[in-house]
Amino acid sequence: MSAWAKHQILETNAILLMIGALIVISIGGIVEIVPLFYLKNTIETVDGVRPYTPLELAGRNIYVREGCYNCHSQMVRPLRDEVERYGHYSLAAESMYDRPFQWGSKRTGPDLARVGGKYSDTWHLDHLNDPRSVIPASIMPSYRWLAETELDITYLDEDLMVQKALGVPYTDEMIENAKRDAVIQGTLDPVEADDLLARYPNANIRDFTGTVTASGRLTEADALIAYLQSLGTAIDFNLYDDNANIR
């Protein structure tokens, strides 16, 4: 039988063809994925990276719920133009507690991996309420209801539990205090702030929308802005050595 005719066996037998295709694709997958398990720059741990605070996690859930990732990536690629525009390229370590990650694949709007601290909370609120009020030509939709809807923290502790089951190192203490931590972070209760900061170093603690102190309730916008303001701020790149973990 010639080689050509042997190939015909595969081509004329659906099951065999499927098994063959599976083997070939697995080889591709193994070659692409397995090295990531031991490449230093994908498994390095970097000082400063910590799990999300409960309020940030709630904001992240809203980010996912509203599909912000359809227009925004969170991944500054190691390319000159991106580093020039957005800042230091993203490290794998920065998404190590993202379940699931928000790298995205579409940039209708700008990358958000380093947006934390770039704007004021007021700007984010204005921008979410009506993007056109600050960027006249913006095509981003308005998310006006976020500032009007009270944040539902009923299941926040369970949320942390799910994240923990997926491998995020939330401690029992963190889970127990999840709801209170969210309230403290959003309303600036300085007496309790120390506990929160011990659990989540460098967390921003304040009234993100400027309405919580007066109304006594957290809104979805508070959580989302807390999340946005935390993005890309964990690592001090003055101390990080780009070349320490190349391979």
């Binding site: 525009r85 004021s120 007066a214």
Partner: protein
Amino acid sequence: MADPSNEKLDTVTGFKTTGHEWDGIAELNQPLPRWWLWIFYACILFSVGYWIVYPAWPLVFSATNGVIGWNSRTAVDEAIAQLQADRGPMVDKLSKTEIAAIKDDPELLDFTRAYGSIAFKENCAPCHGAGGGGAKGYPNLIDDDWLWGGSIDNIAHTIAYGVRNANSDSRYSEMPAFGRDGILTGAQIRDVTQYVRSLSGLPVPHGSDLEAGAKIFADNCASCHGDDARGDQEIGAPNLTDAIWLYGSATPDVVATITNARNSSMPAWSERLDPTTLKALTFYVHNLGGGE
């Protein structure tokens, strides 16, 4: 399933058919086109070369590094080093030149303008507008009305350390929330609102008690905004007589300002941008029209 025994010769083309037949229509079993096959083989050959040159195969404890030692991290570092080398002489010159002297060197002037304008579009335009014209709550940088001062030094400081943020050198001041914190009553706020509006010649409703408003102003507001209400750039208190309103001049806007205070903030750009970029931005903003 195709059955080889069903293969027939197609009389028109002379090729065999696969043996499938639908209502008399049969499928030719032609070999792949030559050109396609050769490109396919060439790709396989190319990939072998690629495996040798670039990092590729996973081994037990690491992956093959490739003979040229390419790596995305070093590659971007090199690309940026190259960029800095290209810009180097001008950036160097800019970092060594006093802002006031930039305009004496036409080449440096062009470079600084372009550099500043790009940095402004990326970082500042979302708040201050693409042309620096500002928006409600975000000051106009083109006019010669300044909250924190329009000299080169003042602008440089405002940009580098921002306003009301966590940076220890940030510009800072806080207007009290007169209504929310119960310092003034609703009626007092209405009076002082109309008084403040009258200062820049806005028409006030009939029956407004401007005298009471003036008294409230002298007692509560003059310490920051000045006896003549012309503001104080040391603490970013705006001039209230100049008909330029950051938060709107309509009665409800001014009432809201006095009731809740605004105390808006701007990030400290020295935390994100390098000193040369800050310098170019300072020059750019100073030259937008209102620099002192």
